[in-house]
């Protein structure tokens, strides 16, 4: 597995490189301010909040790809696990469901786990050969049947408890902010299991394996209704900051808003978003500082040495597989935290909305356009690409409206274009990715 993320030779450091980062960030800020000026502050704040979360996702992918050259395209799965953690931590437990079949479900899970452990033990202890294959098959099928025999009635009982509103086990009822580290832990745990099995694989096999694992995690989330209601969605996840409606009912807040010349509705939505922004920015700052410290530590140098020449690093006595596992887990944890934050911001978990193009490949575009290997680049990419993803649609609508105006009334093309601006996003992202890879493969803010 030789993965060398950079296609071209290292460019010589330029004199203006120090100014490049502040200038690009200034340009990004101007873009956001202009957007706010045209579309309203509320719109711009929505973009900023999701931009902050996107930046954290990009940092996670950058850890794996930029530092270590690991090709993970299962981002979606880790994001979804982070979102699941939010439900499991913050939602109140459904007592009736626990009484109906909670223990049975848990017992089923334990049995399934025991089956897998047993399979691993058979694999390790028996001599290779037909006997081992058959005992594994027999043990596996028997274990599956017993597990299902315990598990299925429990699931049915849990899902039967007022299915329209709950029908799942619920969460722990803890403060929602705890869900963010929990999301990181859950994603890290999954990454450890996946990394243990898949990290020995060649780069593009690892890519396919992670792609598949992401899909499997999503399939579990969509279909295991007892866990988080599946495609019926969990709504009303508690919010860590006061909701707009709460603020509007708070006389102090309304009075203060009136003093500043805002009506309560506008002021409350803006204040709610600003509070979220503060929380997200704090998390981003912590992750960034840690990532920068790691990058410039001996550990970071070792990671890059492994990335650039695995064989040489191994010859120097570095444990490549263990280091890979380490950074795969760390990066996935960061992605999981971002996933939990996203679900907290939305206030709901909607497994049906997790699309690979949006939640895996778009994050990759962010990292590559921003500059893989550079944390400042990843953050800038997160903001820029998210901004572009949001504004391309209204922009496309505007362009098409003018195009249609030029075309003769009622022509086939005009009718076709009218509905097509929605598809502009994918096209723009693809063209942008290809252009950056071709003409500036090290991204907007190249690795130093």
């Amino acid at each position: 597995m030789t993965s060398v993320p950079r296609a071209t030779s290292q460019a010589a450091p330029r004199a203006g490189a120090d100014l490049r980062i502040p200038l690009l960030y200034l340009a990004m800020a101007v873009l956001l301010v202009v957007t706010g000026w045209i579309m309203g502050a509320n719109y711009a704040l929505t973009i900023v909040n999701m931009g902050l979360i996107s930046a954290i996702m990009a940092l996670g992918v950058n850890l794996q790809w930029g530092y270590a050259g690991l090709f993970n395209i299962g981002v979606l799965g880790f994001l979804a696990l982070g979102g699941l953690a939010t439900v499991l931590v913050a939602m109140p437990p459904v007592v009736e469901a626990w009484e109906a079949g909670g223990l049975r479900v848990m017992a089923g899970l334990v049995l399934g786990f025991v089956t897998i452990l047993g399979l691993v033990q058979i694999w390790k202890r028996m001599a290779p050969g037909r006997a081992r294959t058959w005992s594994m098959i027999v043990f596996g099928v028997a274990g599956l049947l017993v597990t299902r025999w315990v598990f299925d009635p429990g699931v049915a009982a849990v899902e039967a408890v007022s299915p329209a509103s709950t029908g799942y086990l619920g969460g722990l009822g803890l403060p929602v902010l705890l869900a963010w580290p929990a999301g990181g832990l859950l994603a890290a745990g999954a990454a450890w299991v996946i990394g243990k099995t898949a990290l020995g694989l060649r780069s593009d096999y690892l890519a396919i394996a992670t792609l598949g694992i992401g899909e499997i995690i999503l399939a579990v989330l969509k279909n295991e209704d007892w866990l988080a209601r599946g495609v019926k969605n969990v709504v009303g996840i508690p919010s860590p900051v006061p909701q707009a409606i709460q603020l509007q009912n708070d006389p102090d807040f309304v009075a203060r808003a009136a003093q500043l010349g805002y009506d309560p509705v506008t002021a409350s939505t803006l204040w709610n978003k600003i509070l979220y922004m503060g929380l997200f920015a704090a998390v981003l700052l912590v992750v960034l500082v840690l990532a920068q410290l790691a990058l410039h530590s001996p550990w970071g140098r070792m990671m890059r040495a492994i990335r650039d020449n695995e064989v040489a690093a191994e010859a120097m006595g570095k444990d490549v597989t263990r280091r890979h596992l380490q950074i795969f887990v760390l990066g996935s944890a960061v992605i999981g935290i971002a996933g939990a934050m996203m679900v907290t911001l939305d206030g709901q978990l909607t497994p049906g909305s997790y699309q690979p193009l949006r939640y895996t490949f778009l994050i990759w575009v962010m990292v590559i356009v921003g500059g893989s290997g550079n944390n400042w680049g990843a953050i800038l990419g997160g903001f820029l690409i998210w901004w572009l993803w949001v504004v391309v649609e209204p922009l496309g609508r505007w362009i098409f409206a003018h195009l249609i105006g030029v075309l003769p009334e009622g022509s086939w093309l005009a009718g076709h274009l009218a509905g097509a601006e929605a598809h502009m996003r994918l096209l723009t992202m693809g063209v942008l990715l290809l252009l950056v890879l071709r003409f500036s493969p090290r991204g907007l803010i190249p690795e130093r």
Binding site: T2, S3, V4, P5, A7, T8, G69, F71, L144, T197, A198, G200, L201, R202, S203, D204, Y205, A207, I208, A209, L211, G212, I213, E215, I216, A219, K222, N223, P356, L357, F361, W364, V365, I368, G419, A420, A422, H423, M424, R425, L426, L427, T428, M429, G430, V431, L433, L434, L437, R438, P441
Partner: protein, 336 residues
């Protein structure tokens, strides 16, 4: 005990659908494996190449139907297929010239080409949605069944019916023809032999005067033909939806890798292995077992190992197991 009825249920719900699906996956996996063998990267845009070819074929089909042209009992889409193949070939040749060639000349690492193909995937996905939208499109016409369930029950007197849809027969026949042509080309013609030589040892092939750009161009044309055929057959059998084709990428890659990337025979075997495992693991066996067991012993549960929603999980479980225990696939594939 009625083994005949059990056999009919098995054929009707497991064997025939899995065989048709397997043929579609095999054609798709052949495209992936050829690109891997010659151009040496995993092409993530393959699903969307299939979707593009199918979209063009659908448009031509609708135009033909509008002009009153049909293909008798066969679907009109088969008449439109060559046009779809030609359009797709132009698209992939254009993509190769404008995108991939640059990296090939610089001998970029395979993983860079994979990321580039992700960009191409985005663009093609956008183009397909632009051309035909995101809705389900049904474009099959002609005779629906070769054998229909009621006719079969009346003719045989069995309790269970066997339905053989014409699209399933067409899928199998077309796939067999396509594979026969491909293998004849690869094994018997000069160009095909030069392709295999290039795949086996690039430097040696260059030394013996094989033009790399020609080999690459021919590969793309063959891949366009295979991808469009696979896409159209899948669309005829089920229906066309841009997003479904993107999702097909997963089982197709699984099939190509399980068979051994770069190995055409492996791709075909892989396609059928994935398709049969998906269908067999997610099928509820209750009816089959009920016919096989003596009366009074009918099973009460569905006897379904996993619910249908987990079919992707099945292909990936197989993929991961094969990769862990035989990293180059069941049939020996290449390893870069």
């Amino acid at each position: 005990m009625e083994p005949l009825n059990a056999l009919v249920v098995f054929l009707n719900f497991v064997f025939i659908p899995a065989a048709a699906y397997g043929a579609q996956l095999a054609l798709g996996a052949l495209g992936v494996t050829l690109i891997y063998g010659i151009l040496r990267f995993s092409n993530f845009a393959h699903g969307d190449t299939m979707a593009f070819g199918t979209a063009i074929t659908i448009l031509v089909t609708f135009a033909l139907q509008g002009a009153g042209v049909t293909f008798g009992p066969l679907p009109t889409a088969l008449l439109a297929l060559p046009v779809g193949i030609a359009a797709t070939a132009l698209l992939v040749l254009g993509t190769d010239r404008s995108v991939y060639r640059f990296y090939r000349e610089r001998k970029a690492a395979p993983v860079i080409l994979v990321i580039v193909s992700m960009g191409v995937m985005f663009v093609m996905n956008g183009i397909v949605r632009f051309i035909i939208g995101v809705e389900d499109v049904v474009f099959t016409d002609g005779a629906r069944f070769v054998i229909d369930a009621r006719g079969f029950r009346e003719a045989t007197g069995l309790a269970e019916g066997l339905a053989l849809r014409s699209t399933q027969v067409i899928t199998l026949v077309t796939a067999a023809v396509a594979v026969a042509l491909l293998f004849w080309f690869l094994n018997r013609t000069r160009t095909g032999k030069s392709m295999r030589a290039f795949s086996d040892n690039e430097d040696l092939a260059l030394l013996s005067g094989i033009s790399p750009e020609r080999v690459v161009a021919i590969t793309w044309i063959i891949v366009a033909a295979l991808a469009t055929t696979a896409g159209v057959l899948y669309g005829l059998d089920k229906s066309f939806k841009a997003f479904t084709y993107f999702q097909l990428l997963l089982p197709i890659f699984a099939a190509a890798i399980v068979g051994g990337l770069g190995n055409p025979v492996g791709a075909i075997a892989g396609g059928f292995i994935i398709a049969f495992s998906e269908v067999m693991v997610t099928y509820a066996w209750r009816k089959v077992v009920a016919y096989l067991l003596p009366e009074g012993l009918e099973p009460t549960s569905l006897l379904q190992l996993m619910s249908t929603e987990y079919k992707f999980a099945v292909s990936f479980a197989i993929l991961v197991i094969v990769l862990l225990f035989r990293p180059t696939g069941l049939f020996k594939g290449q390893s870069v």
